[in-house]
Symmetry: C2
Subunit: 525 residues, 2 copies
Amino acid sequence: MNIKGEFVIGASAVTGSASAFRAIDPSTGQHIEPPFGAATLDDVERACTLAAAAFDSYRETSLAQRAAFLEQAAQNILDLGPQLIERAMQESGLPQARLEGERGRTVNQLRLFAKVVRDGRWLGAALDSALPERVPPRPDLRLRKIALGPVAVFGASNFPLAFSVAGGDTASALAAGCPVVVKAHGAHPGTSELVAKAIMAAVASSGLPEGVFSMLHGDGRTIGQALVGHPAIKAVGFTGSRQGGMALVRAAAARDEPIPVYAEMSSINPVFVLPAAMAGGAAKIGSGFVDSLTLGAGQFCTNPGLVVALDGPDLETFCDAAATALQGKAASTMLTPGIHAAFNSGVERLSKADGVKLLGRGQQGTSACAGQAALFITDAAAFLANPELEEEIFGASSLVIRCGDIAQFRQVAEHLDGQLTATLFVAEGDREAATHLLPALERKAGRILANGYPTGVEVSYAMVHGGPFPATSDSRSTSVGATAIDRFLRPVSYQDLPTWLLPEALQDNNSLALWRLRDGELEKA
Amino acid sequence: MNIKGEFVIGASAVTGSASAFRAIDPSTGQHIEPPFGAATLDDVERACTLAAAAFDSYRETSLAQRAAFLEQAAQNILDLGPQLIERAMQESGLPQARLEGERGRTVNQLRLFAKVVRDGRWLGAALDSALPERVPPRPDLRLRKIALGPVAVFGASNFPLAFSVAGGDTASALAAGCPVVVKAHGAHPGTSELVAKAIMAAVASSGLPEGVFSMLHGDGRTIGQALVGHPAIKAVGFTGSRQGGMALVRAAAARDEPIPVYAEMSSINPVFVLPAAMAGGAAKIGSGFVDSLTLGAGQFCTNPGLVVALDGPDLETFCDAAATALQGKAASTMLTPGIHAAFNSGVERLSKADGVKLLGRGQQGTSACAGQAALFITDAAAFLANPELEEEIFGASSLVIRCGDIAQFRQVAEHLDGQLTATLFVAEGDREAATHLLPALERKAGRILANGYPTGVEVSYAMVHGGPFPATSDSRSTSVGATAIDRFLRPVSYQDLPTWLLPEALQDNNSLALWRLRDGELEKA
């Protein structure tokens, strides 16, 4: 398939008539052909109108049909073959193995949601029997969840496949029965075009109305805001910066009809190394930490940006091991010139902050956007006094917090903003300290992990990739894992409906073999 | 128990030092003793600080202990005896039988949530097994839901028991593990004091930290806004006017850390009478409709404020029967002088609107706040052209929309804002029309009912008392029924935690005998 510089509105490939742009190869800083025309406000209107028109029909597709569509989309993405990987490498600077892995993740995500759709637990089906003899009589009540409506999805720069056009937000919204309009990320328009056309083909071959999926090029301030402001759009999924996310949150709140925004924004993912664990393996934890810190040039939402540890010789061992490991880490090309520049200025800011000392740096690189990893150290008092030290630096930069006593671990935890993850290194001897720390971490983070590193987000049933503000704009949900489908649903109750008017999921015979709550007890056909 | 004009902060009864006010008997317009001192901003601070301090401990009470606490609160409310009913009658103008029924509903609500807590499905427990041999290895992941944090609850005027101090929002938040700070409604401060002290006693006798419950007197603009703006508060429950609800939504969004607001606001609850159903019983539907319209002086969120029907002789029969039934309806005392005045001006506005004609009125009353029911008629074109006709008039006022053809039913439905309920009168002959209408109603309403009236909201598992904006500020939830607990929860994932650090609900042995998702399959011990 040639990359033509197009976007997708329903069944049509469109060359945008607004200002054109080209992708940039971050390893060279050079433009990549072809040019991409941005969408106009009319294009936004068309995509949203088609999505609204498709909604009633798409949300009532059978579980089997919707699942098969998701699987077809996955297959079509695989069938793009090496071209997809090559273009994504060029546009993102990410290496081949990483992008092949990410493609696998993208495909598995779609397949997991196909399984989730078929299972039907997401419907939350509940039936309360009528009690005609009661005074007053109890009606027959049946509940199911239905899709919220068309969803606007904003592709992320750091996962050009798994959190972009066919990424987690798109997969979970489509699974819920929501048509999707994607605003593609400007850093990988060619990758986006390829994937969008793969989904477009799956919509057509699955016999679905064309409005189920559209994807537009253009910038967030015009196209993005118009999309979020459109009356047909009923929810928003976003992964990116706090500034970008909050702009969408504000736009959604200012609508005549406010809508939910699921923005995954900013997190520094603290790692608490408790004393007994540190004593048991300071050097190993230090070098493992640097592996996690520098993975993918540190361009993960779950990158560990903070290490909290007790002052003393074990911490020195940790720091020496980390600094040594860092010296062995080659620079990686960062995703975009903008991200690279922001990383450099964040590292510079940190290096000049009061009470902050450089522990070590990774190797310098030769590519245009080479990110040179950095590790700093400060003490708890300085950290607690300076809110700037808590700001996320997107990339491989981290700060060690030296605590004078174990009580300061909890102080630091309580001081932190909401996080995607919080990590504990614990050994048997840390029982009391860990037990004391856990409630604070539960209040602050969506995922708590022990004796591991937060990078690596499993796509499964028990994953939470979310957390209190500002990690996300809505802590009640996750953007990775099976329960992400719940974000795009709302409950509807049906009272005394004649059988012929009831949705199939709520019919007496339970022909879909769903788990259902019958008078408060779970049962299956 | 004497009513002392107090509120409750944790374990302390407090006489407020801010400006004092008295309740008003709406049947006479006279003040009722004693005076109530409003809370100060210091009181708000104390209540919120206590709630925050109680949170970690309260949210980890055992399921059994928390359920027993809810049941004790219910019992203590019953034990208040006739005094509670008498005071509520005086403060609300509502009749004894209605308030006794409402007390039963309040108590049953607390008991239902006790059952829900014990059942533990709300925890959403999910376990994904580790796959150490996989490349990369899959960690052990376990998910449970935890409480959001302290919740601010705003009592409603129209349910001085069931949606006030110990009402649905309080019950569901306490069930979820959230401490609650109630801002009592100014219309029934004595009722509120009695109920608050019943809960305070239950907190103490259940051995819970005092901050689990507080209740403050004062107005929404100072005390209410301070409460919603307090950093310790993590969610808000509200039932009342659109103006009041939106003020809280805006305040919550303007915080450094935005928080969810569950505001149940405004709904006109359309009733669509399809032609075959109308032909089968126009007179009966008309008189039944008037019974629903005038129930409790029309002061229900689910009061049917709109009837949509086909023009013709059957509609005339409906209107004649409704007008006749209305003439027989005595005026009821409305809840407050303010509500009464707003009702009268709403009815006056409607009576002067272009193309609107009065069909009939109920009887005039003699009490100070007697609400005289009213029924109007207009045609679909006039309704679609004038947004004012869609505004809720709180009280027993309704508007019949005369449609020229069946296609206008859908036009009216699509034109409507979000609703708590939508009602269909249908017979076999209406299949096609009803099937065509249903998708629009699903998009617009939280509950769809057939051949009945929307007043009467069952407290059960399959109830949804919610709906798209402006019926509520968050259509993803319900404020009545068992699933209301879900509003106050967020998921947390635990990765590779040592057994001794894992919450009991996620331990391998499933000692709580919970329904859990194990690798995607539901299972019980």
